[in-house]
Symmetry: C2
Subunit: 175 residues, 2 copies
Amino acid sequence: MYIGIMKRTSFRKWPCSIARTMDLLGDWWTPLVLRELVYGSDRFDDIQAALGIGRNVLAQRLQRLTREGMVERRKYQERPARYAYVATEKGRDFFPVLAAITRWGDRWLDGAKGPPILLRHKTCGEITHGEVVCAHCHADLKLDDVEFEVTPGRAVTLDDRIKSTKRLAAAKARQ
Amino acid sequence: MYIGIMKRTSFRKWPCSIARTMDLLGDWWTPLVLRELVYGSDRFDDIQAALGIGRNVLAQRLQRLTREGMVERRKYQERPARYAYVATEKGRDFFPVLAAITRWGDRWLDGAKGPPILLRHKTCGEITHGEVVCAHCHADLKLDDVEFEVTPGRAVTLDDRIKSTKRLAAAKARQ
């Protein structure tokens, strides 16, 4: 663990879903908190124990997720008031992103031990993992098979970026 | 932009591909740097200008990505020495994760304007987006349709977690 001074840029208004999603997540604890909720932990103390996260950090992340509509707080006891934390539809829909991250990590980071948690798809009954496919033709979505196009009327810097893509393609062709 | 003191926990050795992937990425700049490489920017100055990122921060992220084998530095000029940054297979394979994040962000965060960059799948010729599906039956991989199972021999806390999943399912059934 190290302690350092970090400058944090807000990505909230960037015209990019990746940047804006990251801004919402805030830091890497948030996907791990979402992972816990997705695995079925719904109590503050359980999540705290599972992650070994500071109570104030966890409280802050849960507040942010609640404010963003990804998590709902439900009172399950009156005196003293106790709450369970449950992922909303918006929060639950983040699961495919976690599955895509898991797949990449299992492929590129894991050693011989294999993944510690297996995913069973109840629909087909098989142990499985997530694959990212083209929503249209359902073939695997690979970088080599896609092109980026700027929506008309959007920022010039994006146009420049596409030009840069073309330059790269030209450079590759020359290799 | 705010400046704060952050304590950073290392997730590198956690038995979880999500945590370990996050540890590698380090902070949210890294996926944005990868995004730039994926869009085809390969020059330090281009990436720096596109993201408005500090030169030292970008240099650090590119070094980390290079050390992790996600990015390769290629000399394209001798005097003065100049380098292009190109995603390796490991780096390019991160694109589906970015596509999954983009999809979630487009669905849950964007306003009426729609996504600024469109993805064309050259394989089928259509404007598309990524969907995360079951690798086995190719149906959409949704949280409601999966169960988590602990690999035999793994940590007890994961067993506890699965028990907790069952508790949640029981609680839901009572609703």
